[in-house]
Amino acid sequence: MTSPNLADERTSFIRFALAHKFVAFFGILMPLAIFAVFVGYPIVFTVYLSFFEWNGMAPQKTFVGLENYQYLITDKYFHTALLNNAKWVGVTLFFPVLLGLVIAYGLRSRIIPAPALIRTVIFFPVTMSLISVGLMFLLILNPLFGAFDTILRSIGLGSLVMEWFGDYRVALYTLAVVSGWAFTGMPMILYFAGLGDVPKETFDAAKIEGAGHFRMLTQVAVPQLRPVTAVVVMLTLFESLRAFDLVAVMTKGAPFGTTNVLGYLVYLESFWNSRFGYGAALSVAILVISILLAVFVMTKLMKGAFDA
């Protein structure tokens, strides 16, 4: 479809709407109106609010210009949270995505038996709320009665035992790995489905040429799975950017704000410190980062994966 200029688009829409009133109203105008109220307006309001100081209750908001943004640039909590989000993305892109791919390949190539069982078991946590997952790992990683430390000690790795949530050096990674545990099922089933679509001949040909499983995975499967990878990376990035629930239930940003992520910081500043203007500025920061990431993924990775 060639894209006509805006004027054409408008007249052709009116023509379409007159011919198909029902579809135009309930199919296009109604959803756009809902988006305008629940997505468009909130975004505009957030940007607007980020130039004000407001405690959330007072009828008057004080205009402060770029003050919130100036503060944001120097705010060390913001820096920590930003860095934490980056680390979180790093861990989740590496651990659940790569592991999901390898497991999917293992199941498809029949290296691992019982594919139905494995898929069910690993996909199950995807259906759990992160609050439940967080509570579960608070029990598993507990220093007194936790199973994880006990296992480490019993296999002679007791020296690795740490304060998984109390030690500022590891707490964030603990959270990210727990989120990875809960998320792995998602890339796994997407890759499993994707591998099912790769023609069997492709793998057979590689096998005849003597490719081992490693080369089969990296040189045959991965290039074929590009569209799936685009979707998985997108999902993972935005899942990581939304990281909130685990922080809220497991650490609340402790120790010393070292496990704050951007989303949690917005919540803290707005709804606990009543600095809604600054919270809005933080929201705008998240929004800008999301847009940059989305544009990057769309242009570099997707190449038409979402084409209508």
Binding site: I34, A147, S283
Partner: protein
């Protein structure tokens, strides 16, 4: 040159080694992903004394006392009822709102299709935290803050984009011959939608509804910010209390709470996991 018997033996040795690796991996994966769940279930049916005596031992005298205690002290009856209400009504509304847009996007060469898709994707990817403050403010203006209906509306609005993608994907797989015949007979758009597409879309609707139900059941941020009174809390927000010294002293109470919170989803999962875990809906998302 090695004889045939040797080659055979070697081959079967390889096959055996392969099997051994396979089953080891199987065991490791099951241990990592099912182990925590089983441990929680075991812990949830122990008495305090049994837990303190051996945190990982199998319960010798299983008891449901922790379930009763945690059910009563957290008011799980109300939490579950609330979550069920939000998930069922929110998903139903999201699906209902998504039906005609999906029909429009799958069946018509819409002018401005790209704009509609762009808007849908924005709604899908928008981090919730960026709209928390305006939503809070809007709901307060409309006197919907801390009401069940307010949260249902928000869930429906944010569930709709995913539903449109899923249902549109499903509807494009419905053959066009039937509706062409209907159009030739002089049926209107609405009649084709209502009498042809809608009945044929029921499987897609069920998948979409189930996914949305699970998503709302898991959801936490909106519930946390848009609700204040405990009477309205969903399970996820109500369970936050479990992470406190009072409940974490002995693990059987939080463990029992965990199990309770997950039971409805386990039932739904068992009923539908073949559909969900096959990754079919991924095709819908990919379009």
């Amino acid at each position: 040159m090695p004889d045939a018997a040797f080659l055979m033996r070697q081959r079967s040795l390889f096959a055996f080694a392969g099997k051994l690796i396979g089953y080891t991996l199987l065991a490791v994966l099951v241990f990592i992903w099912l182990g925590p769940v089983i441990l929680v279930i075991i812990t949830s049916i122990k008495s305090n004394d049994a837990f303190l005596a051996g945190p990982f031992a199998l319960p010798t005298q299983p008891t449901f006392a922790p379930y009763v205690t945690v059910w009563n002290s957290l008011g799980f009856g109300r939490l579950l009822a609330n979550s069920f209400l939000y998930a069922a009504c929110g998903s139903a509304l999201a699906v209902a709102l998504a039906l005609v847009p999906s029909f429009a996007l799958s069946r018509f060469d819409l002018p401005g299709k790209k704009i509609v898709f762009g808007v849908i994707l924005t709604g899908l990817m928008l981090p919730q935290q960026t709209v928390l403050i305006p939503l809070y403010d809007t709901l307060r203006t409309l006197s919907l803050l801390d009401t069940r209906i307010g949260l249902i509306i928000v869930h429906a609005a944010y569930g709709m984009p995913a539903q449109i993608l899923i249902l549109r994907g499903f509807m494009t797989t419905i053959p066009r011959e039937i509706e062409k015949a209907a159009f030739l007979e002089g049926a209107t758009d609405f009649q084709v939608f209502w009498k042809v597409i809608l009945p044929l879309s029921v499987p897609g609707i069920l998948v979409g509804f189930t996914l949305n139900f699970i998503a709302i059941w898991k959801e936490f941020v909106f519930g946390l910010v848009l609700l204040n009174s405990e009477a309205n809390f969903p399970v996820t927000v109500g369970m936050l209390k479990l992470n406190s010294d009072r409940y974490m002293a002995v693990f059987n109470l939080p463990a029992a709470g965990l199990v309770i919170s997950q039971i409805p989803i386990v039932i739904l999962f068992l009923l539908s996991y073949r559909k969900l875990s096959s990754g079919n809906f991924a095709g819908a998302v990919k379009g």
